[in-house]
Symmetry: C2
Subunit: 345 residues, 2 copies
């Protein structure tokens, strides 16, 4: 992206930060955070000062804020909330990076981040693609969809692919990649508006409002022949019903468990091991951080689809960092349509 297309991002003289001040037991709510303000930090040798532009809001932040065994170290109490963001380098003390370059990485919920190059996930290169896309469809969400589906779900042309949170930042990409691969796609989503979005914008062969009837009944009706791949972001009763709709040899990708409010203690549900056995499922857990070596390649594939017009995305952009403390709660409530971002440029 050439310097000429950079909008005139403000450069505030203070650094607003969203701090985690209380450990959530379930879904993080506004009172777990506090807005703070401090001086603009200075990069050390080898570091970069980045002016953040689009802050990402992700279901995974719930896990990062929790203090239970997980796939990431918990965010410390009093620290800036861990978050991905797209930003522009405003000061570089690393020979490989120049001011004006746009990057996507671990910048946190704050105006300015000081980071080392290792905290960059992706360089923003293509001026034909809006900057915000790199925080969603071409960021962690898109790469999660691409790598989770292709590496663990392993769809083949003609397969039937079931997707939960089908209209979400990850699910919508899963559905479109599967369709692009020649699969039949069935999406589960939570509102009639999202059903329409899934079918009209994201190209699902069929989308269903999973709240309109018991999920098992909906799948018995609309997925009578079964699914070969189930990309699940929610767990809970939707997962249970999906497992029981799998074909023999099906692949289940567990990418999230967003429907379950608390895991301490784990809630009960119907035992699923007999489904694993008799359907010979392969049920795998996917966490993007195991696949960072493939991240750039996935983004390149997704970027090509966006440019070619075969991968669409929606965004739900809040205009102020003031909305951050309530953003994760709103995300879990399913209030957003499209990738939830906070614009602070």
């Amino acid at each position: 992206m050439s310097i000429s297309v950079i909008p005139p991002y403000s450069q505030p003289s203070r650094n607003r930060q969203v701090l985690l001040v209380e450990r959530p037991r379930g879904i993080p709510a506004p009172h777990h955070f506090a807005l703070d303000e401090g001086p603009v930090p200075s990069p050390g040798e080898g570091q970069l000062l980045v002016r953040n532009i689009y802050l990402s809001v992700d279901p995974a932040q719930r896990g990062w804020a929790a203090d239970v065994a997980n796939y990431a170290e918990p965010v410390a109490i009093g620290a800036v909330m861990r978050a991905l963001a797209v930003g522009v380098i405003v000061e570089s003390r690393h020979p490989g990076y120049r001011p004006g370059e746009f990057i996507y990485g671990w910048l946190g919920w704050q105006d300015y981040g000081v980071i080392a190059p290792a905290q960059i996930l992706c360089h923003v290169k293509n001026p034909a693609v809006p900057l915000s896309a790199y925080a969603g469809v071409l960021g962690m969400n898109g790469a999660t969809a691409y790598l989770g589906l292709t590496k663990l779900g392993r769809p083949r042309a003609g397969d039937t692919v079931l997707v939960s949170t089908a209209g979400g930042a990850v699910g919508s990409v899963v559905g479109q990649i599967a369709r692009n691969l020649g699969c039949r796609t069935l999406g589960l989503t939570g509102t009639d508006a999202k059903v329409a979005l899934c079918q009209q914008r994201f190209g699902y062969d069929l989308a269903i409002n999973y709240k309109s009837a018991p999920v098992a009944e909906l799948l018995a009706t609309h997925l009578a022949d079964g699914a070969d791949v189930f990309f699940d972001n929610v767990g809970g009763p939707v997962l249970d019903a999906g497992l029981r709709a799998m074909r023999v040899g099906g692949r289940v990708v567990q990418c999230g468990t967003a429907s379950v409010a608390s895991w301490n203690p784990p809630p009960e549900g119907p035992r699923n091991e007999r489904e694993v056995l008799t359907r010979r499922l392969v049920w795998s857990g996917f966490v993007i951080f195991d696949h960072l070596a493939d991240f750039a390649g996935a983004v390149a594939e997704l970027e090509a689809m966006v440019v070619a017009g075969t991968l669409h995305y929606e965004e739900d952009i809040d205009p102020s960092i003031d909305s951050a403390p309530g953003a994760i709660e709103a995300l879990y409530a399913g209030e957003n349509v499209g990738k939830k971002l906070i614009y602070i440029g």
Copy 2:
């Protein structure tokens, strides 16, 4: 095996059969079966008449007798109970088979079976190995252990492998193959006598009586570093505890669900999808019938281990077909030590 080592098997003039007469809802009990007697059948063109010698008793027979969605067609009411057995061909109407040859296949719980060659799983070839072994350690149980462990469990030298029903017909082979591959092995079994058997005979690094304390506590103590592979034959609370003792990236092989008395309706248990996700497990269902192309190769590997003395087995042999109706129930009660067979030669 040359004709000279054939013991003088009797050739009764009538064919005793164990019929399934009532559909079990859970574990098959004696009243679900009836002993019947009919004429010795005659093979048709291309068929073989086989005098059965060792009838196999397997946990999987519960599923074959059930009338629920499963991986095999249910045994019809009034039909001979489906079973594997080792027998000797007494009449052949197929050019590829001669009387006196020993085979292992789908012969049923009866004195004589009439089968086509497609119902043969394995030819019995090695006179250095007792005939009964081909109904267990060199039959479906051994092949299940070998293929389930190597293809789905994928152990590497140095891995820790957890096995349930560690002293059973499948589990004991899993433990020994894992040990032979350079893994550390931890076995769960249900009596102190079987603990001793697992450690002294089957070479487990450690075996635990899972009834001696809550399984989660036992694993916290004895598996504090976690397992890379969990070969589970039981499901239920043992599975739940095992999942929570897995290392990141661990492989869970679901080979049976013997601890669960009834699946209609499925009992409840703690939700396990968050374990799949955060530990990035690969949890797969194994049914040997998906792997029949690899069966003979697996048996050859196992036979070599038996001959080399690196694979031991135990047998629990009933001397009469009269015990068949109660045999599955006894198996689920864990009364046998070693592979349960019925000798009817």
